[in-house]
């Protein structure tokens, strides 16, 4: 058994220690946010936050993770109460198929927690590990800029999920 801290909750996981985090999130914890894209760290669809930084969950074995805080897009808010980054993606309609979006959002969240006012150049450089095939990139960048503005206006909202406006 390995205990994982996911979105603020502890979960005892019965899986091989070499199992990549992605499969535990999706299969054991039934979380949908992290997506399988390549299994190689080339596309970013599986990205989650670990210790506040963006990581490819398809590459990180759970043996490396006990008691370290993991956050997925489910930890940013809910359908009824979306967090600021999620609201910004809705406002900008920054998705087509949407498959790559949760991974992008987790890297963006990690960026905004460290740098509340990233420039467009910084946002693009930061998202370089991520692929989008629908070509929604321009809206994704705009959504992150919007989220940055809104988080600054309501600083407590940065954690997502539990805040209301």
């Amino acid at each position: 058994m390995i205990t994982l801290q996911v979105n603020g909750k502890a979960h005892a996981i019965d899986a091989e220690p070499s199992t990549p985090l992605l499969y535990v999130l999706r299969d054991h914890l039934q979380l949908n946010g992290a997506k399988f894209g390549c299994g190689l760290g080339q596309c970013g669809a599986c990205t989650v936050m670990l210790d506040g930084r963006a990581v490819f969950s398809c590459l990180v074995p759970i043996s490396a993770l006990p008691d370290r805080p993991i956050k997925t897009v489910e930890g940013l808010g809910t359908l009824d109460n979306p967090g600021p980054l999620q609201r910004a993606f809705i406002e900008e309609q920054a998705a087509q198929c949407g498959y790559c979006i949760p991974g992008m959002m987790m890297r963006a969240q990690a960026l905004l927690e460290r740098n509340p006012s990233p420039s467009i150049t910084e946002i693009k450089a930061h998202l370089q590990p991520h692929l989008c095939r629908c070509g929604t990139h321009m809206r994704i960048v705009r959504a992150i800029q919007r989220a940055a503005r809104e988080m600054k206006n309501a600083p407590a909202a940065g954690t997502g999920g539990t805040t209301r406006r």
């Binding site: 979306p82 309609q93 198929c97 998202l127 991520h130 629908c134």
Partner: protein, 737 residues
């Protein structure tokens, strides 16, 4: 939504009760001169196949089309809400399911609006007329005196009744009429107004949104150990060690189709890797040499069709004769999420949850493959990652079906790996084109000849032989002989006939049945290559005529809608007053998709790094007229996306292969656009035509983007590249030292 007034009713035809009373309950006799019904109503005429109203006033709308991120659900809800005169949130939309919805074939060809939205628009208007007619009867008044607001009908004396109360016990199981009492297009309240997509919130909070997220009770996980190359034969494998791995439930082999089923997903993956390591295949070098793919394709037997039969342009270098040859490599759909499907065989019936673009064709294909009656196969669409055409979705459905049959009683989920999708998806075909024209001394194009060589662009299921897993079975299915798609829409020859009024236009389509690599429908089919070629060549002619490329195009175009998108894109881009910066250039392109659908013009500016050959788009301005615009922001999103995807195809993408295997097996061996190569700005102008037929949007930007980029590169560099992709290496090699 404002109330519907008497004036609206009159504007909409004023014959609502009459049209209701005209609906025949049975329509036996008059088969001969029956007028066609609008859109997909022609194939599915009963109104309650499309729209049902519950007693509580909820509305359910059915479509045979599928959502894959293009926003069709939202647009269809808008269309239904508009004509039913209810708020969009009252509408529940059911998408393609062989047990529930109309058969609308594939969701493809930018035709969902023409087919499904047209059907729903008309069905909704007719259902509203029926319901208003019922209210008029109940209130013993005229339909014209009634007003409708959000599904409630009011009489002048203040009495009111809801749709739900009225339809109780009523029969909407009646055929549609050819004419519908449509609302006045100038009074639209929902259509033509941007609406937030209904599918986005679930996708960005991690709610179940994709077939990948489907978790059924008792579900098991499978991985297929796929052959390393197209024709590879399974020689041997050692199942003993793999069977003993944790969670492994079954190793399933049928001929060359080998898979492992396990309790947990990662157990299936680990077991499949272990199985692959102990499996021996026999392969042979059956692929052509990549560097000679154009020559190879042109040497294969061709079926040649003359699709425009003018006299053409003379061969050889005569006075005023210009000739150019263009090449396109194999290119991928490249879905970010590898294909996935879940299937369950239980009680003699098979259910498949699939992100196929065509649930009915997949039902037929699986039925044939398994020799199971079609009525015992149900295919239910759930979203996948964006597909942009025929990717691995149907094959994954077939994998799941095969494995569910060998492991009955529990749902089997098959997830393709990245290299499965890269190596096995059917690519957009490699193509060759040749353009030749003669201009007189005044710069008029007096003769034009264009030829295109291509494989099929449609090898979709329907036939089981178009499912890759069916090729691998002990009793394999043969691939059906491909057929060229007829003009005017065409396949490899889509958009091969120029819209410009040139003299003596001759166009030949060389259809190559033999397919060295697996190919099928990729967004825009042959239009991507033909528009790249024709619009590039038109620029070359404009250059030879010393004419401005936009003026030159307008000189040969009469259609006012074509001229509108061209002038709009040129003006908003600032074409006339363009100030060239060093190493930058501007390019323009136009097409009417399929020569019969939407009009798109794109102007763009690129920047060239002469030291390394790197090209970056700086900005693009597009104008699109896709008829009546239902969700303008949805159209913008599709065009922005089309521009960026086509930019990626055009600058970076070519499937690589050696003579045995596909070697593009991941994103490092098939690189695509990333964030740091984005343009700074994309702007899309939607020209709305209320009341005009829907023309579709999804595929229209692909060709014009490619040509606009190539034209801008020629403008910036002084050198024209005619071979795709316009890669850094190729650009660098073409530049003068």
């Amino acid at each position: 939504m404002p109330p519907m007034t008497r004036r609206d009713f009159l504007a909409a035809g004023g014959a609502l009760v009459v049209s209701f009373s005209l609906f025949p309950v049975t329509s036996g006799a008059q088969e001969t001169d029956k007028p066609r019904l609008p859109g997909s109503l022609e194939g599915t005429p009963l109104l309650d196949s499309w729209i049902r109203i519950d007693a509580d006033g909820g509305v359910t709308v059915f479509t045979g089309k599928v959502e894959f991120g293009q926003g069709i659900k939202t647009a269809l809800i808008q269309v239904a809400a508009e004509e039913l005169m209810v708020q969009p949130r009252r509408i529940r939309l059911i998408t393609a399911d062989t047990a529930r919805t109309p058969d609308e074939g594939y969701t493809a060809g930018s035709q969902s609006m023409q087919h499904s939205a047209t059907a729903i628009l008309n069905a909704a208007a007719q259902v509203r007329a029926i319901v208003v007619g019922l209210a008029a009867q109940r209130f013993a008044t005229s339909a014209e005196s009634l007003t409708v607001q959000d599904g409630t009908i009011r009489a002048p004396d203040g009495r009111s009744v809801s749709y739900g109360e009225l339809v109780k016990g009523q029969d909407l199981h009646v055929p549609a009429a050819p004419q519908s009492p449509l609302r006045d297009p100038s009074k639209r309240t929902v259509m033509g107004t941007p609406m937030q997509r209904v599918d986005i919130p679930a996708k960005i909070v991690g709610a179940p949104a994709y077939v990948h997220d489907l978790r059924l009770p008792g579900m098991v996980h499978a991985r297929v150990v796929r052959p390393p190359s197209y024709g590879a034969l399974l020689r041997s494998f050692d199942s003993a060690k793999v069977s003993a791995l944790p969670g492994v439930l079954k190793i399933a082999r049928d001929g060359n189709h080998l898979a492992v089923i396990a309790e947990r997903e990662y157990q299936a993956l680990a077991a499949a890797r272990a199985l692959a390591a102990v499996t021996r295949w026999m392969e042979r070098p059956a692929l052509p040499v990549q560097a000679d793919i154009d020559g190879h394709i042109q040497r294969l037997p061709a079926q040649t069709t003359v699709i425009a039969d003018g006299t053409g342009a003379p061969a050889g270098a005569g006075p005023g004769v210009i000739e150019a040859r263009y090449l396109r490599p194999y290119q991928m759909h490249g879905s970010i999420g590898p294909s996935c499907a879940v299937a369950l065989y239980k009680d003699d019936a098979l259910t498949i949850w699939t992100h196929s673009q065509g649930v009915y064709p997949l039902q037929r294909a699986v039925s044939e493959m398994l020799r199971l009656p079609a009525e015992r196969v149900r295919c239910i669409h759930m979203e996948g990652a964006g597909c942009y055409g025929h990717n691995g979705a149907d094959d994954a459905g077939a994998d799941a079906a095969l494995l569910a049959m060998t492991y009955p009683g529990r749902p089997v989920r098959v997830q393709w790996m990245r290299e499965d999708e890269h190596a096995w998806e059917p690519y957009g075909p490699a193509m060759i084109s040749n353009a030749r024209a003669r201009m007189d001394t005044k710069g008029n194009v007096t003769e034009w000849q264009y030829e295109v060589w291509s494989n099929t662009h449609n090898a979709r299921p329907g036939p089981a032989g178009n499912l890759a897993p069916a090729w691998h079975l002990q009793k394999p299915f043969e691939r059906p002989a491909p057929q060229p798609a007829p003009q005017p829409a065409g396949g490899g020859d889509r958009n091969a006939i120029p819209l410009y009024k040139f003299g003596n236009v001759r166009v030949l389509h060389h259809f190559i049945p033999e397919m060295p690599l697996r190919v099928s429908a990729l967004r825009a089919l042959g239009a991507y290559m033909n528009i790249f070629s024709i619009e590039g060549f038109v620029d070359e002619l404009a250059g030879a005529a010393q004419a401005d490329p936009v003026d030159f195009r307008l000189r040969y175009l009469e259609d006012p809608r074509a001229r509108d998108v061209i002038t709009t894109a040129a003006e908003r881009f600032g074409w006339k007053n363009y100030q060239r910066r060093r190493n930058c250039g501007k390019g323009f392109a136009f097409a009417r998709y399929k020569n019969l659908a939407s009009y798109t013009a794109i102007a763009c500016e690129i920047e060239l790094d002469r030291d390394n050959g790197r090209v970056r788009m700086l900005r693009a301005v597009a104008a699109i007229d896709s008829g009546e615009a239902v969700n303008p922001d949805g159209i913008r999103n599709q065009i922005e996306g089309g521009i960026l995807q086509s930019l990626s195809w055009t600058l970076y993408e070519a499937v690589s292969f050696d003579t045995t295997r596909i070697t593009s097996r991941d994103w490092s061996t098939y690189p695509i656009l990333r964030f740091q190569n984005l343009p700074d700005h994309i702007e899309v102008h939607v020209i709305n035509r209320p009341g005009q037929p829907f023309l579709g949007t999804g595929e229209t930007a692909q060709g014009p983007t490619a040509a606009a980029v190539a034209n801008a590169l020629a403008d910036a560099s002084g050198t024209r590249l005619r071979e795709l992709p316009l890669s850094q290496r190729r650009v660098k090699a073409a530049l003068p030292p």
